[in-house]
Symmetry: C2
Subunit: 220 residues, 2 copies
DNA sequence: TTATATTTTTAGTTTTACCTAAATTTTTAT
DNA sequence: ATAAAAATTTAGGTAAAACTAAAAATATAA
């Protein structure tokens, strides 16, 4: 794999994220990268010349197959470093992104594959986003109810079924919201209550009724 | 601490290394950085303007007190990453430098101080060079004979007293040369022989006579 | 369907970090 | 002490990646 500049890599990664919702426009990219439309056009010409991008002037852009491969590799580096920072260096989940934004541009393949191995081939970063493997493959993320989550497998809250003020009061009290990383430590047969844990809290117990309303992203 | 560009950091680090032998000249720096004298002059003006360098045109350069602080911090980052690569990711000692050359420019203080803690505050990198602490202090490196090295304290071979072909034959057989990292695992009172270990080998025994001829850099 | 608004590209600058070639200063050798 | 050699700086230029302002193309709305 050829090496790209930090600037090129940041453009590629951002296009990859935005193109999930369709073709990416000049202005949308400029807004996302806090840049100016004219700068975007210049870089798009460069990425097109390098065959990373399909793009007709005045119509939007999408990454080429090669461009997508590069994007997945950068995302892999970013998320492995985030996992490292959170798990090994005790960074909190809101501190990891900024540092990973720099570490992701160190492009040694051996470094990343050895780091992956050292970390035990994690499948999700501290925010619950999936980590591509060395081939750029991402494990399927599926939505599961908290009641069905296996023990000791952290997953990320992505949906709360009930929207009443009373459930929100309880979630708030337990410091659970969309994006919170949760792990089930124990299940009690008597009342189907669950002992769960988040990064921010010591283990605590919640009712089956509450658990039934919480859905999580879970990498198989 | 202000942030510097990758280019500025590489200049600062190289000046710091060269100025051990006196004032650094334009041509010496150009040779070391594989650059051209005119490029050096331009950067020297910039570093002087930033108060990192003492420099009179046509005479050599030395880092200012502030410049030395910056240099020590970059060296700290470089050597901690080398230690990480060797100890945690099983890189061999000749592979670590190239990757560390990139990682050293990620400048988060928290990252480096947490990494230091995670690694157990190591005092020397895989080549035996001392690692500055968070204040930029370097532990004194002293030369000790292998017979006086404490148990389980790795140190780097820096000198072999006897230079005869017979001792070199033996050193070669045991894969010991200048720069080899050696650790004493056991001492036997009967004949003062030592069980030692290197990165490349399983533990093996050497005679007192051989040990007396091997001197090592040792960080107290 | 034509006029207006929006989006995108082009043109022309700036900054950083390089380069080569020429000029200048310092060193060295007769 | 002066001339030749070596080292260093200056002058002028390139490439990448940003910017502003103006021009051109596309979309929308009367
Ligand atoms: Mn992130
Ligand atoms: Mn980035
Ligand atoms: Mn090194
Ligand atoms: Mn470097």
């Amino acid at each position: 794999m050829i090496n790209y500049t930090v600037s090129e890599e940041n453009y590629i990664k951002t296009i990859h994220r935005l193109q999930q919702y369709g073709t990416v426009t000049t202005n949308a990219l400029a807004a996302e990268l806090k840049s100016k439309p004219a700068s975007i056009t210049a870089m798009m010409k460069k990425l097109k010349a390098k065959k990373l991008l399909n793009y007709q002037p005045y119509y939007g852009f999408r990454l080429s197959a090669e461009g997508n491969k590069v994007a997945l590799l950068i995302i892999r580096r970013h998320r492995l470093w985030e996992y490292f920072l959170a798990e090994k260096l005790q960074f909190s989940w809101d501190e990891v992104h900024e540092v990973a934004e720099h570490l992701e541009h160190v492009s040694s393949k051996k470094l990343i594959d050895k780091l992956d191995e050292f970390l035990g081939f994690p499948t999700a970063d501290p925010h619950g986003d999936p980590i591509p493997d060395a081939q750029g493959k991402i494990k399927n993320i599926q939505k599961v109810c908290l009641t069905d989550l296996p023990l000791n497998k952290p997953a990320t809250v992505c949906q709360v079924a009930d929207q009443s003020p009373s459930i929100l009061e309880l979630l708030n009290h337990n410091q659970i919201k969309i994006g919170t990383r949760v792990e089930v430590k124990r299940k009690f047969d008597f009342d189907n209550s669950l002992e769960i844990k988040t990064k921010q809290t010591a283990p605590f117990t919640i009712s089956e009724q509450l658990a039934k309303n919480i859905f999580l992203n879970y990498a198989e």
